[in-house]
Amino acid sequence: MAELDTSGGGKHKGGKVRTKKKATRVDLTAMVDLAFLLITFFILTTTLNKPKAQELIMPDKDDTHQQLPVPETRTMTLLLGAGDRLEWFVGAPGATPPTTIGYGKDQLRKTLVDEDAKIRASHNGQPMIVIVSPSAQSTYKNLVAVMDELNIVDIESRAIVDITPTELGLLKRDGLFK
């Protein structure tokens, strides 16, 4: 497809030697091919998706001014155990027997929605407070999953609290902590 030089140099008249006029058109096919090849390469290698993150806000440990007493009847405690299982109970530990569930949306999310509705009904529409206590054998994935479910269900009052020996005893009894 290259353009041939068609411009005549003219006849040699009067002995004057003229240089041939060269065509200014260059064949760009190969260059365009190369350019598109490189474009394709760069499109495929660039990672367009930016990293995403889940926000986690912890209460200030030294700020004791704004701590309000929490009514136990409105509090739900989630104990994260081993083997992707967790236990939950409402109220003080030992007051009601804990229930063992998994992290799936038909288990954890359903429980959260149901309990929140129950507590709102019995406490004049006041929302449920959730305390998350991860044990040493729960994984990071479990914590992220729980926080995500709380975000989905839109439970604002929540806290990550260190697990107590009583709660650890409950997990051990039910085989969620070895």
């Binding site: 760009l28 260059m31 760069f42 290698t45 993150a53 986690l56 806000i57 912890m58 914590l143």
Partner: protein, 202 residues
């Protein structure tokens, strides 16, 4: 009857415009391309549905996997300043070459006493090295505390912004190490973290 002849057209097309566009796009993609960051720990991050987009600057990442913590802060200038502050604190002086090398270093996990030997290594050897991770416990004077603190100071000094902290943890990592890292951060009143996650649908 004479047949109507279709004039033969030249098959050559003027490609100048196409070539211009192609190179314009090429330039754009080359300039916007970021070199792929090496991920020494290869953490498998968990997924979440409710997420925010992370900033690209004024950001520090703590990578946690295999019970080790690696530290990284974005931006070459912030890295150099962080290293200078750390050097002052631990009475180690770094040469300009080491500082330049450090500004190109992605996340690392060595004690500050062996940082000099890490910087002296060739990048290929560095990838092979099994780094021990940055020491972290629940006291006020662990090295991770100082790294995060220095990075925050450096970012405030250079950009006048509050450094955001991201935690990039492996899904299967057990909780105690996160407890230590979070406690370390809370000691310096960093109460907001970004847990770096993948995105999934509800």
């Amino acid at each position: 009857m004479p047949r109507v002849k279709v004039a033969r057209k030249s098959t050559a097309i003027d490609m100048t415009a196409m070539c211009d566009v192609a190179f314009l796009l090429l330039t754009f993609f080359i300039l916007s391309a970021k070199p792929k960051t090496s991920d020494p720990l290869q953490a498998q991050i968990p997924a979440a549905t409710v997420v925010t987009v992370m900033p690209e600057a004024d950001f520090s990442t703590l990578e946690i996997a295999h019970e080790k913590v690696y530290f990284n802060v974005e931006g070459g200038d912030v890295r150099i300043k962080t290293l200078e502050i750390m050097g002052d604190k631990y009475k180690i002086s770094f040469t300009p070459e080491e500082k330049t090398e450090f500004s190109n270093l992605e996340s690392f996990g060595v004690p500050i006493t062996s940082l000099k030997s890490l910087l002296a290594m060739a990048p290929a050897d560095r990838d092979k090295l099994n780094q021990p991770g940055i020491f972290v416990d629940t006291t006020n004077n662990n090295e991770l505390y100082d790294w995060v603190h220095s990075a925050r100071l450096a970012d405030k000094y250079l950009h006048d912004k509050d450094l955001k902290i991201g935690i990039k943890g492996d899904s299967q990592e057990e909780y105690p190490i996160f407890e230590k890292v979070i406690a370390t951060l809370q000691k310096q009143h960093v109460d907001r973290f970004n847990l770096i996650t993948a995105v999934k649908t509800k």
